[in-house]
């Protein structure tokens, strides 16, 4: 046998293990599933923003052959659920937004369900409605929930230092109001759930959830059953992006239908229903005041945020948790005063969405950085470097920035794009004739990259077992929603155990099997689940090496596991095949199986009441540079080049990493330029891809990605979480580029052709009038 050299999988380009099945149509997504005896469910949504339900007549629907259950609020206990415990599966008494679920049916086909829904007669008495949170907060505004005076929902404050004194000592102060808009996830697989009760009243729910374990806890109150009696199975899903981090009414409704019909029931949204009823990103009005000294040192930020809560409280109104972090830590800000309030309205409501508040906050902080630099007559890079934190600094909210490479990211981004020279040149060319104007813009942000301790635990459980053929099964709590944790876990485990990645099976889709995990969110999975898998794998490795050491009569640390062999660590001489070792361990006098478990809890802490705490085990930065062309007549913006520089800790799967960044950036560009859920008087006006424009292939600009490896001391192999920053930073980079091109600021994305054309036309008309 030839010696086997040490080779690392880390940093390689590794295809996702589930890709071949997905490429061939073999994968059965939840939307494709059919269970024996399964019925279909559909919901009757109110379609009006605020009204009393005077009467519901379901008799005709019930009489329709093939209909197994028709439910209204009268048929189910009055249970409350959701982040704000203010939502009910089916609404009785009154409806508070167009989504409100007034009735539901289960029948043999979706067509029959539609027919049954058409037969349900609801008499409404419309109530005065309120759609603007500022209006909703006024005295005498229509009250949306009887027990929520002033329509007040959640509120958050954070104060640090002395903002008034800082303002008094500032040389320059800028003040702007940003209005960041409604967008929605547009998962390609629409919302879908299958519920099935057994004879003991235990529920099996096939769900798209991103957080199977707390999902049980959150679903149970909506059904009045014990969380322990819920088993969550997660078939493959067509995207999630944060949209499945809460329980939404269609899920308990489906379960209630299954309970009533005593048959499995599947409920799927049409694309139109998805646009209207699935959560949105939280829109926010951000009033921000920023001060600086002449030399560029930031002195303070004072921020007032008003959030349109919509009719119910899901994760949307909790985004100040993250927004406040950005306001207080995107650059070194010695004094901050942040006040955030969410006010109930009769609009649809928001959930969590990739970036989770940071998309909104960074739009403001990064545009203010650009404005401040201009006002100070400084180059943006100089200004940014001046205020960029260094390793070891602690932010006002207690985030410890270990391994911080913000300055390196800024410098690199500027260098590779020739930013400073171009920025000056385009600004100088702004007023020359020509209908196409060029601009370049830079933006940056910070995000948690080592989980986020918003629950009591931010941990992940993992078990690994090896069989007699050296095939490993990794049973992990970490969910796969397309982001690629399967590849990362395979890599990490294969690296430790010296077996091929193809010999590893991942089981992570059944709450009855896999151990607890808090969920896929907050860019945490690679970090947390990767750490858990690595630790579990190390235990297995240790057990195997100890056994091998006895057989080879060599100390365990002189051995290594490589390519299916136990080898001499020093020169790679093969000693024993791993499968043989495992069989010998198993079928010996002192039989042992390799089956290990690990629960990894990151070394982070929850925020205290004052919102201070080192809530993530790592933080990272990204800097984006957009170069754009603006057609000053049509208002169309074309992105000529997009550059991203990001601290990734360490590259584990280069291909997966690039894929996350590219996908995130394109989503971020869509947010900046074209995506907007148009909600007028509480109604969604554009519930189709025809009028809600996600980016398509021809609109994708050339992208250049640079990774900075800061080697996190806490991350798996040094890696950091990466998946949200790419979506967070593009919009302000583009807005700053557009400003560089045409000299107009857009405080209210998206920068649609019409908005840009209108702004240019208004400015030019004013100029013409002045002449």
């Amino acid at each position: 046998m030839e010696p086997i050299a040490k080779k690392s999988l880390i940093g390689q380009r590794v295809p996702k293990p589930d890709a071949p099945d997905k490429a061939t149509g073999r994968t059965t997504y939840i939307n494709d599933m059919v269970l024996p005896k399964m019925l279909y469910g559909k919901i009757l949504h109110a379609g009006r923003p605020h009204a009393l339900i005077k009467n519901i007549d379901v008799s005709a629907a019930k009489a329709l052959p093939g209909v197994y259950a028709v439910l209204t609020a009268a048929d189910v206990p009055e249970m409350f659920f959701g982040v704000g415990r203010d939502n009910r599966p089916l609404k009785g008494g009154k409806v508070r937004c167009v989504r409100d679920e007034v009735a539901a049916v289960a029948a043999e086909s979706e067509e029959l369900c539609d027919e049954a829904l058409r037969l349900i007669k609801v008499d409404y008495e419309d109530l005065p409605a309120v759609f603007d949170p500022a209006e909703g907060a006024k005295e005498g505004a229509p009250l949306i929930h009887d027990n929520k005076p002033g329509n007040r929902s959640l509120a958050y404050q954070f104060k640090h230092g002395d903002v008034a004194a800082a303002e008094a000592s500032s040389d320059v102060v800028i003040d702007s109001v940003f209005n960041v808009h409604y967008v929605t996830h547009c998962c390609m697989g629409t919302s879908c759930v299958i519920a099935d009760f057994d004879c003991d009243g235990k529920l099996t729910i096939y769900s798209q959830t991103q957080y199977p374990y707390n999902f049980k806890m959150d679903l149970a109150p909506a059904l009045g059953i014990h969380p322990g009696d819920i088993r969550v199975i997660q078939p493959p899903v067509g995207g999630a992006f944060g949209s499945k981090l809460d329980v939404y009414p269609f899920e308990p409704v489906c379960a209630l239908l299954a309970q009533a019909a005593r048959r499995p029931v599947k409920l799927t949204f049409s694309r139109e229903e998805e646009f209207i009823n699935a959560p949105t990103r939280q829109p926010v009005r951000i009033h921000m005041r920023t001060g600086a000294k002449k030399d560029g040192t930031l002195t303070f930020r004072k921020v007032d945020c008003l959030l349109n809560n919509g009719a119910y409280t899901s994760w949307g109104p909790t985004v100040p948790f993250v927004m406040m972090r950005t306001f207080s830590s995107h650059f070194r800000v010695p004094n901050v005063d942040i006040d955030c309030r969410a006010i109930y309205t009769n609009n649809p409501y928001a959930g969590s969405f990739r970036g989770y508040g940071n998309v909104q906050a960074t739009y403001a902080t990064s545009i203010h950085a650009d404005m401040m630099a201009e006002k100070l007559g400084m180059e943006l890079l100089t200004f940014s470097l001046k205020n960029a934190q260094k390793s070891g600094e602690v932010t006002p909210q207690g985030a410890r920035l270990n391994e911080c490479v913000f300055a390196e990211c800024l410098q690199k981004a500027a260098d590779v794009t020739d930013f400073t020279a171009k920025h000056a040149r385009y600004a100088a060319e702004r007023n020359k004739p020509g209908r196409i104007k060029r601009g370049i813009g830079m933006a940056s942000s910070i995000h948690n990259a080592g989980g986020a301790k918003i629950h009591k635990s931010d941990g992940c459980g993992t078990m690994i077992k090896l069989d007699d053929y050296a095939r490993a099964t990794v049973i992990t709590g970490a969910s796969e929603i397309g982001q690629g944790i399967d590849a990362v876990i395979c890599q990490v485990v294969a690296e430790e155990l010296g077996i091929p990645m193809s010999d590893i099976t991942i089981v992570n889709n059944d709450s009855a099997i896999a151990p607890w995990d808090v969920g896929v969110h907050a860019s945490r999975t690679t970090f947390i689940a990767g750490n858990a898998a690595q630790r579990a794998a190390r235990k297995a490795r240790e057990q195997m090496l100890n056994a091998a050491s006895k057989r080879a009569n060599m100390p365990a640390d002189a051995l290594d596991l490589r390519e299916g062999w136990v080898v001499h660590d020093s020169d790679g001489t093969p000693v024993l095949k791993i499968d043989k070792l495992l069989r010998e361990m198993h079928f010996s006098r002192e039989p042992e199986l390799v089956m290990v478990s690990e629960y990894y809890e990151p070394p982070s802490e929850p925020e205290n009441k004052e919102h201070v705490g080192d809530m993530s085990a790592a933080y990272s930065h990204a800097v984006h540079v957009a170069e754009v062309e603006v057609d000053t007549e049509t208002g169309e913006i074309r992105i000529v080049k997009f550059t991203s520089v990001q601290d990734v800790g360490r590259v584990i799967n280069e291909m997966g990493l690039e894929a996350q960044l590219e996908g995130g950036i394109v989503m971020g560009i869509g947010y900046a330029l074209s995506e907007e859920l148009k909600i007028v008087n509480g109604q969604v006006r554009n519930p189709s891809f025809r009028d809600y424009k996600v980016l398509t292939a021809p609109e994708v600009p050339p992208m250049e990605l640079h990774f900075i490896e800061s080697h996190s001391s806490t991350g798996p192999m040094g890696a950091k979480g990466i998946a949200e920053l790419p979506t967070i930073v593009p919009a302000p980079a583009i807005a700053n580029a557009v400003y560089n091109a045409i000299g107009i600021r857009f405080f209210d994305p998206p920068m649609t052709p019409e908005k840009v054309a209108r702004a240019i036309w208004e400015r030019d008309s004013k100029l013409a009038a002045a002449e």
Binding site: A23, G25, R26, M188, T190, G239, G663, V666, A697
Partner: protein
């Protein structure tokens, strides 16, 4: 009563005979009557391309095609691309270039890519981007998809 239409057609090399309601879409027939769930429903409105199949070698949105119109024709779905010899080179490229994340758009994306490769062959990058304009992907940002197609057919600047 909705009229029923008896049709026969070749599906991935096999002859199929079915009776379909006159107003049914080819997508519904494939997924709900024939259990061919590889082809996806993501909008049902022609806007996303997840339902792309090839009929007589031409790509189209099966959600807009009438099932009855399949009569006498040759239908190829994502399931038919893989043969006894293994994955189609296009499928393989999508896997190896990391073009697949959640994968929900991919049956349609791969069918359209295959159609482009069959009809255009080598193309410019812009032609490739335009060729995929009817296929929405929410995960990948399309870049890795371009890489995959380029690996199969070659793409010039």
């Amino acid at each position: 009563m909705t009229a029923k239409v008896d049709i026969s057609f070749t599906l991935n090399g096999h002859l199929k005979k079915v009776s379909v309601p006159a107003d049914m879409s080819a997508l519904t027939m494939l997924r709900d009557m024939l259990g061919m769930t590889g082809t996806k429903l993501a909008c049902g409105e022609g806007e996303c391309g997840a339902c792309t199949i090839m009929v007589d070698g031409v790509s189209l949105n099966s959600c807009l095609m009438y099932a009855a119109e399949c009569d006498g024709r040759t239908v190829l779905t994502i399931e038919g691309l893989r043969t006894a010899a293994g994955l189609d080179p296009m499928q393989k490229a999508f896997v190896e270039k990391g073009a697949i994340q959640c994968g929900y758009c991919m049956p349609g994306m791969i069918m359209q890519a295959k159609y482009l490769a069959d009809t255009k062959g080598k193309m410019t990058h812009e032609e490739l981007q335009r060729g995929l304009e009817g296929n929405v992907c929410r995960c990948t940002g399309y870049k890795k998809v371009f890489d995959a197609v380029a690996a199969v057919v070659g793409v010039t600047e």
